[in-house]
């Protein structure tokens, strides 16, 4: 009976998730069906921006899930359920990728269009940049990520509860996380090349994968802070989440803001000083037609402002203020994804394109957050049963 109930529950969840994902794909599909080719491609770009923005939070959650098993620490225990829930939404992105591969690839990527046959450079790159290879790689990425998140969530659940294996199972999680991080780094580098860098297939940057990962971790961290700060306003959770936990998260946020800026600027500096004909067009596109405003905004609001604000110790210890900074950083993450993707197809900053991108992020966001909350609420918001939980709570007290 219990098993039947459980199965029924799971079927209901699955059904709901499928429904949401199909709704999501349909709403994009409907708007993208028909219309001029350029308008169609525009909408797919909006889709890609929304996809990358929300994917960052989910995949970054997987990375943090592995990192906290490897490093330990109270912050990791407090954020674990959020990491588990965000990384459990990865199948949603697999389904959305199917939609993209089926309908969107020629609309998005120059290398997938018939004109590519006349392009010498794209011909030479066609062994890597072709639709079947793109699809197969996509399958491999998601098999790796979903398997990792599935195993870690499952093993993580058995560190606690009735059938507790205790620390033994936690060790298994750590053993899995080591190679998991290596796989994550490799697959995410290739995914960044496939999905975003190949929008401009003549251009390349060996720093791109690292930049993508740094941004991804920043997104996931900011989202986790938002969830934890909201949780800390609940009476029954507030007593477990101390100021020092938020202080730790604030410090990590500062570190990732700096890492992102460091990598972004390194890429720019190398290309700018090299000044090579095959490299500079990427930045030339982004420094004219209104995009230069976005570039300056990123320097100020994605780096300088959060950097200076997060230096304050008092602010990092105030969950509400940290929440505001995290929300602001999430908005800047949208701006950076916009900056990476949009100028590849749209030569000048236009309000309509911007609104369409924001709209896409909002639609996908509503669906994704709903799915996230659905998964997140199925378990306790903090891993109360974890053997190290009491210690982690005590850490937050000072």
């Amino acid at each position: 009976m219990k098993l039947a109930m459980k199965l029924h529950d799971q079927a209901k969840t699955l059904g709901l998730l499928l429904f949401l994902v199909i709704l999501n794909s349909l709403s994009f599909g409907a708007t993208m069906h028909g219309g001029e080719p350029s308008a169609k491609s525009d909408l797919w770009v909006s889709f890609l921006i929304a996809y990358v923005f929300w994917f960052h939070i989910a995949a970054g959650g997987l990375a943090f899930l592995m990192i906290q098993y490897l490093t330990g620490g109270a912050w990791g225990v407090m954020g674990r359920r959020v990491f588990e829930a965000t990384s459990s939404t990865l199948p949603v992105f697999a389904i959305l990728l199917v939609a993209m591969v089926t309908f969107g690839v020629p609309n998005l990527y120059e290398w997938a269009r018939p004109e590519a046959a006349h392009d010498v450079i794209l011909q030479k790159k066609s062994a890597y940049l072709n639709v079947p290879a793109f699809t197969i790689r996509g399958v491999i990425y998601f098999v790796v990520w979903i398997a990792l998140s599935f195993l870690l969530v499952k093993l993580g659940a058995s560190t606690s509860g009735a059938e507790s294996e205790g620390p033994h199972s936690r060790k298994k999680c750590a053993v899995l996380s080591g190679p998991g991080m290596v796989l994550y780094g490799l697959t995410m580098t290739f995914a960044s090349i496939d999905w975003v860098m190949s929008l401009e297939p003549h251009w390349y940057s060996s720093l791109y994968g690292a930049l993508f990962v740094a941004g991804q971790l920043l997104s996931a961290l900011a989202f986790t802070i938002v969830v934890l700060a909201v949780l800390s306003r609940k009476q029954d959770i507030a007593k477990f989440l101390g100021k020092r936990h938020f202080h730790d998260y604030g410090k990590l946020l500062l570190a990732f803001v700096m890492l992102w800026a460091y990598l972004s600027f390194s890429q720019y500096l190398i290309i700018w000083s090299g000044n090579l004909a095959e490299e500079v067009p990427y930045y030339l596109k982004r420094l004219q037609g209104g995009w230069e405003k976005l570039a300056i905004t990123l320097i100020i609001a994605h780096f300088a402002l959060p950097f200076l604000i997060l230096l304050s110790r008092d602010l990092k210890r105030q969950p509400f203020l940290l929440l505001l900074v995290a929300v602001f950083i999430l908005f800047m993450r949208f701006c950076e994804v916009l900056f990476l993707v949009r100028p590849a197809v749209t030569t000048s900053l236009s309000l309509s394109a911007l609104l369409s991108d924001l709209f896409a992020v909002a639609i996908m966001g509503v669906c994704w957050i709903f799915i996230f909350l659905f998964i997140f609420q199925k378990r306790s918001p903090l891993p109360f049963e974890d053997p190290t939980f009491a210690e982690a709570v005590a850490h937050g007290r000072h």
Binding site: L269, S273, R313
Partner: protein, 181 residues
Amino acid sequence: MTNTEIKSLFGIMAEFKDAASLAEATKRAYAMGYRQMDAYTPYPVEDVIHALGLRRNEIPFIVFLGGCLGAIVGFSMCYYFQVIDYPLVAGGKPLNSWPMYIPITFELTVLFAALSAVFGMLALNGFPSPYHPVFNCPHFERASQDRFFLCIEATDPLFDLEKTKQFLLSLKPVEVCEVAR
């Protein structure tokens, strides 16, 4: 007890065998109202730091100022060399090619911030200090080996030679000694 006696006294020092009894003693002294006191331990003991009621210090602010100074020095140094002192066009780029200054600006920011942290810490600790009264206490050198010391200083408004001594003795230390100035 005369005034000169108190003036010639730095404080009263109690010696403990372990960190836990020092932390407990410090808590009790703080609860008694003593504020002008310091603890000496072979390694940092977090409980003692909290028990002493230490306020935040000026180090972060000093480091921030040092970092700002480093950034200004780094950038203006590059500007002076490239634009004023020895203008040389390289790679067809403008003389004031600021992106090229950023790595040096960054490095000098870090360098100045780190150095101001070290020297700021030394200055706030009163270093260099060739003489310090605490060493007048016998076996004080064990503070860097295996003993834990709590010193209530004579400058504390509640300080009273007899009462403070009695109080420290009530904490069951290994030894209590009067520290001459």
